[in-house]
């Protein structure tokens, strides 16, 4: 069975059956990653361009790793040091790269909608690796993969997403993906870090941490995006930490068996104290491992068959 989607632009319009198929394949790639030889020849001869207009450590390395584990040829492009600084437009850059005969583009960009735009000006398969405040679908897929791996299911589980919902494409992708999978999602943040109409994502909203985390199966922390804090959305880092940072005391409000997740990078001592980040309930490093498997699954399922 093939996926209904031809590109992965976001999880908003991805069906339950497609998400399930990606997560099932990701579990199979997880097994491959535990072999001594972690490479399979599946995408031999396919060229994948990693087009990164924004900084990234985890996502870029994770995609490159996934491509190499599948025997594809990765080609890395970062906007800094490229002809973008000479004034070349996105369309021209991409069409020039495409003229070198490539198959897929993994794109990260500061503007929402860039991946969609690329599907209109190239024939390559597009995978969104984060666009503005819009979506970061592979992060949500690896999060759901991790939850399913640890708790055995998704349907009916309660998830609290705590932190900078306003600036978070991770929160958006998770809200859409998790509600599609029948999960019960609560977003928790100070009012200034909640977008307007958050409920339209199909989630519950609260500003009170204890309300969000007391009966959650999963508590996912997001960092306040300090680099995007242009107009003082909370008084001070210290105040944020006092009300929303997960430390030993606030962990007592959680169920003992609840998972602690974080998409990284962690601001230690802000949203997450070391005792929470490094405790047995923390699956933060499992998320990183699963990230490679989930991205292999996406590349694999979108890369097959002939392009029309």
């Amino acid at each position: 069975m093939a996926l209904e989607i031809k590109h992965l632009l976001g999880l908003k319009d991805v069906s339950k059956s497609d998400i399930t198929q990606i997560l099932d394949a990701a579990d199979k790639f997880y097994e491959v990653l535990n072999r001594e030889n972690k490479t399979v020849p599946t995408l031999r001869g396919k060229t994948v361009v990693n087009l990164f207009y924004e900084n990234s450590t985890r996502t870029r390395i994770s995609f490159e790793m996934a491509e190499k584990r599948l025997s594809a040829n990765p080609l890395n492009f970062s906007a800094s040091g490229s002809s973008v600084s000479k004034g070349e437009t996105l369309r021209d850059t991409v069409q020039n790269i495409e003229a070198m005969k490539i198959d897929m583009i993994v794109v990260r960009h500061g503007s929402a909608g860039v991946p969609k735009f690329l599907t209109e000006c190239t024939g390559a398969t597009i995978i969104n690796a984060g666009d503005g405040y819009h979506e970061h679908p592979t992060q949500a897929l690896l999060d759901m993969m991790t939850i399913r791996q640890k708790l055995g299911r998704l349907e009916g589980l309660k998830v609290a997403i705590v932190g900078d919902i306003l600036h978070s494409r991770v929160a958006r992708s998770n809200a859409w993906g998790m509600t599609t999978m029948g999960m019960d999602v609560t977003c928790c943040a100070p009012t200034t870090l909640l977008p307007q109409h958050t409920e339209s994502l199909g989630v519950k909203v609260t500003t009170k941490l204890d309300e969000a985390i007391s009966d959650a199966d999963v508590v996912m922390l997001l960092r306040p995006q300090l680099e995007r804090q242009t107009h003082g959305l909370f008084p001070s880092v210290r105040e944020y930490r006092t009300y929303y940072g997960l430390d030993r005391d606030k962990m007592k409000l959680m169920r003992n068996d609840a998972l602690i997740m974080h998409p990284g990078p962690i601001n230690r001592g802000v949203e997450l104290e070391a005792e929470a980040a490094d405790c047995p309930q923390s699956v933060i490093l499992d998320q990183v491992t699963n990230g490679v498997a989930a991205r292999m699954a996406v590349l694999y399922l979108l890369g097959g068959g002939e392009h029309e």
Binding site: M1, K28, E36, P41, G303, G304, E306
Partner: protein, 179 residues
């Protein structure tokens, strides 16, 4: 696909697999070197049956693994994506005599992919191939060491192995492909 006729029924299949199990033992005196790998999905059922037979005959449990060759197939580009199944080979293949088991041998492409997958796991001292049915139509230079039933089929024919766990009965059918 439409069934043309029943080729083998449950008791005949069981007898064939018992014969193959004896042949494997006859040609491999050192049981500690042997390991079974069943190819997903239906090769796994044949491999399980062989493992059970050898346990009954020799009182010795041969390790068994399950292999999915999806990531090694050569039709990834031409067909829509294949859904991968579980691979679980819980032993080191290096130095072992691997008894690779599948239900039907035809083009040989499944076996080619499976051999590549096994060799990526390690270096077996040998790989022997068991198939329940060899129906001809080979496209690659592959042959089986242990064959349950050898037959000739037309290009539009298929052989279908039904197993109790999935289909409610053990049987082997000749099928005709829809045009």
């Amino acid at each position: 696909m439409n069934p043309i006729r029943l080729l083998l029924e449950s008791s005949e299949i069981r007898r064939i697999i018992t014969r193959i199990s004896h042949q494997i033992l006859e040609r491999n005196s050192d049981l500690s070197q042997l390991a079974l790998i069943g190819i997903q999905s239906r090769g796994v059922y044949v491999a399980k049956e062989i493992q059970k037979n050898i346990r009954d005959i020799e009182g010795f449990e041969i390790p068994m693994g399950v292999l999915d060759n999806t990531f090694y197939r050569d039709d990834y580009r031409s067909s829509l994506s294949h859904e991968p199944k579980v691979t679980d080979v819980p032993f080191d293949v290096t130095g072992k005599v691997i008894i690779l088991v599948d239900d039907i041998l035809a083009t040989g492409r499944t076996i080619r992919a499976a051999l590549d997958a096994i060799i990526d796991l390690g270096r077996p001292s040998a790989v022997r191939l068991v198939v329940l049915v060899d129906r001809g139509q080979r496209e690659l230079p592959i042959r089986a060491d242990f064959v349950g039933k050898k037959m000739t089929t037309a290009p539009n024919e298929r052989v279908s192995y039904r197993v109790e766990e999935l289909d409610g009965e053990d049987s082997l059918w000749l099928m005709e492909k829809d045009i």
